[in-house]
Each structure stands twice: as C-alpha cells, then as structure tokens.
C-alpha cells in the first residue's frame, strides 16, 4: 500500500494506492495552511482507503519545486511517517506528477510545459515530451520569471498556475493547475514497478532551486515578547 503526499502547490493532500488502483485521495485547496491540513488529510486518506497506517509499505512525496515552507511540511511528514513505520520514502519531482496527470488526457499535446507559482513573480517550470499517455521530462526543473523564459518554452502549451498568473508570457491550455496527490501516487507506483521512462525516483529532499535569502531575522521580532 503506497501513501503519497504532496504540498508543493495550493493543493494539500494525500492519496493511497494499492499498486493496481487508487484507493483514496483527499486534498484541500489552501495555499496558507499546509501545516494544518496535511496530517488530517493523511488520516482521512488512510480511512477512506479502508486501511490502517500499518498497511503502508512505501511512502512517496512530491519534493517540489514549490514554495519552501509548504514543501517542507510534506517532506518532513513523509520522512517521519516512513521512519516510524519502518518503510522506504521516495521523492518525486512534483512537476512530473502534474505532467503525468495532463498526459492522461486524449488531447494532451506532444510537447508540454508545466509552470507553477514560484512567488516573487517567478514560475517553477519543466518541459515534457508526451506520448502514449506518458510524459517524459526533457528540460528542467528550473525557476525563472515567465517573461524571461526562452521563446521556444514560452510558446509551448502550458499547464499549472503559471499561465493563469502570466497570460501575457505563457500559453495556457485546459489541464491540471495543481499537483493531485492521486496523480503523484499513480506515478510513484509506475516508477517503483520500473515501468516507463516517464519519471525518476529522487531522494526525499526538497528541490529548492534557490539559495536561502541571507537576511537575519531580528530576534525580538521573530519571537513573541
């Protein structure tokens, strides 16, 4: 039983996959409350799948790229669950899950851009080659201002919130706007089975892509008086 978690976009949630079918998926859209919503979502996903935490044999977590604070909630949750339950924890590029989600559509383009909100007027992006219902990452992930992306990337049909935020620079098409935990679960199952060239397993660490801003917090302001 695979437990999948993703907190790299505005959708916070978990899904349970038994290797053949997706047993449950619980997700809430809330960009500010990943820390509050995730644990109850994991609990609910296990409950809806009709299994207990002891049935989990592997944990998959989206390692972004995504806004750091929310991303870490998912990664630390996965790491601790894996540690306590004594099961392996694998990371997957969250953009891969969105591309895989988009690739299941019959109208998916052969050449696809995934662009998500990286805040600070930037997008996280990756480029995919789509065929036979699978998406293979061919470029990225990276982080850049949408308007600074090279012409050939900006011209691609794009999914994710990037095109909604920067319609002047990106060409949005109907498709996923956030990472569905169920899509991540299905992708992880396929990757663990060694099927398909469409993804790679990663260490369970955030894909930060950016250095930390080295500005010290004022100690008294950071903590309550």
């Amino acid at each position: 039983m695979l437990l999948a978690i993703d907190t790299s976009t505005s959708l916070v949630g978990a899904a349970v996959h038994d290797g053949d079918v997706l047993r449950s998926e619980v997700a809430r859209e809330d960009v500010r409350r990943h820390g509050e919503l995730l644990a109850p979502a994991v609990q609910a996903a296990l409950g809806e799948a009709g299994c207990s935490r002891r049935d989990v044999t592997v944990v998959a977590v989206g390692v972004g790229p995504g806004p750091f604070t929310g991303l870490r909630v998912g990664v630390v949750t996965a790491l601790v669950l894996g540690h306590v339950l004594g099961v392996p924890v694998h990371g997957l590029c969250s953009l891969d899950a969105m591309a895989a989600d988009a690739a299941t559509s019959a109208s998916a383009p052969a050449d696809l851009l995934v662009a998500t909100d990286a805040r600070r007027k930037e997008v996280y992006w990756a480029r995919y080659a789509v065929s036979g219902g699978l998406a293979r990452r061919v470029q990225g992930p990276g982080v850049a201002r949408a308007t600074d992306l090279p012409e050939d990337l900006r011209g691609l049909p794009a999914v994710g919130r990037g095109p909604d935020l920067y319609p002047e620079a990106l060409h949005g098409i109907p498709g996923p706007r956030d990472v569905r935990p169920g899509a991540l679960a299905s992708l992880a199952v396929r990757a663990l089975a060694g099927h398909g060239p469409d993804t790679v397993l990663l260490p369970p660490e955030p894909l930060y892509l950016r250095r930390p801003d080295a500005v010290a917090a004022a100690p008294a302001g950071a903590r309550a008086r």
Binding site: P40, V80, P212, D213, R223, A224
Partner: protein, 348 residues
Amino acid sequence: MSDAPLVLGLETSCDETGVGIVRGHTLLADAVASSVDEHARFGGVVPEVASRAHLEAMVPTVERACTQAGVRLQDLDAVAVTAGPGLAGSLLVGVAAAKALALALDVPLYGVNHLGAHVAVDVVEHGPLPEPTMALLVSGGHSNLLLVPDVTHDIRSLGATVDDAAGEAFDKVARVLGLPFPGGPHIDRVAREGDRVAIDFPRGLTSGRDLQRHRFDYSFSGLKTSVARWVHAREESGDPVPVADVAASFQEAVVDVLTRKAVAACREHDVHDLLIGGGVAANTRLRALAQERCDAAGIRMRVPRPGLCTDNGAMVAALGALMVTAGRPPSRLDLPADSSQPVEVVQV
C-alpha cells in the same frame, strides 16, 4: 514510577532542533542539533537557513534521542511540540513532524507554548514547581516576567520587553565591541575582567512615569544605543575602548533591571519562588545578583542547569508530561503553528 507518562518533545522555534524524552519528571534524553554556526556570519538567525536545517536534522535527532533514552518510539505515551511563539517556518517543520509521529504511533499530541516549556523544564532538575511560581525568562528571543499559578494551563504575563530582548542586546553590544556571535557568553567572559560601575549606563523603564506605566516591563533598546554611542565617542577621540569595563557596565545595567523587577514582582504578588530560564540564565552575573537579591528578600531561586535553559526538546517533553499527568485533553491534529502565540495560551 513506571506508570509515569513517557513523552517525546520537539522544539524547533528558532535555530535548534531539539528532541527530548522524559518519563514523568525524569529526563531520559535531550538531543539537540544546532544550525548556529551557519548563522554566525550573518550576526543573527537566518529563518530559511534554520528551516532547512530543521528538516535535515529531524529524523536523525529523533533517532539519537531514542538511543540516548533507551526507548523505542513505539513505547511513547504522547508527543509534545512547540506550537509557538517562534520563527514561522521553523515552527512548522517541528509541528508537522510531531503530527506525523502522533499519527504513525497513534498517541495523543500536545501543542504547547515555548515559554511555558522554559518554565516546565525545571521539574526534571528540581522537582515539582511550587504553585504559584514567578518566572523570569531571558534569551535572545524573550524577556518575560510571568506569574505561573499552574504551568499546564494558567500562565499570566506581568511584563515583557517593549523593544529588544535582553539576549538580543547582548548580541548587538558584542558586535559593537568586536566580540563574536552569539554575544552572551563572550560578554560574560570579558566582563569578569572589567569594572561594572565604570560607566553608568541607563536602566530602561525604571523611573517616574515609565515605572508606573511599565511596572514589570523591560526595555533594552536605549541601553544598546547608549553603549554604541559611548564606544563610538571613544573611538572618535582616538582613545582605546576599555572593552572589559564597557562589557561589565552594560551587563550590570541589564541584570540589575532584570533582577530588581523580578524580585519586586515576587513581593507584590506574595510569591516565594523565582525561576530563571532562557539562554541568558547561564549568565554568571545574572545568577549571582539574582541569588543575592532573592536571599535578601527571602525568595527561593531555581535555575535549571545551562543546557536546559537554552532551547531544547526536554523542556517541551517536560511540559507535555505535566499535561498528560494533569489530564489535560490532547490537541487536535490540525493544530496551527503560531509564530506570535501569546504566553497565556499554554496549549493549542
């Protein structure tokens, strides 16, 4: 004794990843991973650096605590975690980890106040807290005077800093004097060679209307500025800066006000026990002057050993264990981390 609750506590409010394990009042493990070295060159804690370090240190530190305590995670009766106050991104890593622990182990979760935990930790050192206890908490993040009728659910704020925390003033003055970060231990060391009455630095909020309006509040910003001005004037005039005298006189100004107001608060509220906690409680002059004034006023003083005064997981575990023993209801799995959690909110 063996039916005392076995509780793991997680603390990630600033730059230390702390994991402590207690059984009732007995400390079994206190594992801390610190990212302080990574912050030193910035002269303060960089929030994003701290959050990244918490994530990396979490599982290894939990593991180390279990090994130290000689217990398995599966033996735990409850998990406690600092829910606030602190750095938002740092708190969130600890809170998420604690929820995952509680969920995977199927044990109750207690989201607790960091300041309450600083008070509670002394039970593992000096036994049950007298009720009420007066608590003076001083660190790089806090300067609080608290009346504590019951640490598990009734903590009242009598006073706090209106600007800088005491430890922050130590850091800033250390920088002015060319001493390394964090400044507290260095000022303490250098001050031993100096004359604490050499320079008459101001005591914030200690006179006239200030004292009426801010009876038990503190202010260290004016002091810090005054020290900087004094040092710069010396440098301008080409005279050498008497570093030891400046350090000693500055330190005396800080600990004089801290202890004077703490003892006054004990008198006013008829409290006979004063607990001093937080990183600055390791300051030798603070301890000495507080002891002197407590003795004179007939107040018993309690100070946990320095390792338990700085931020650690044991203090969170200690407060969690007290809550379990007192029969407090656990927190919910959707509890938020609150970077500005009021001190009166002992449990979330």
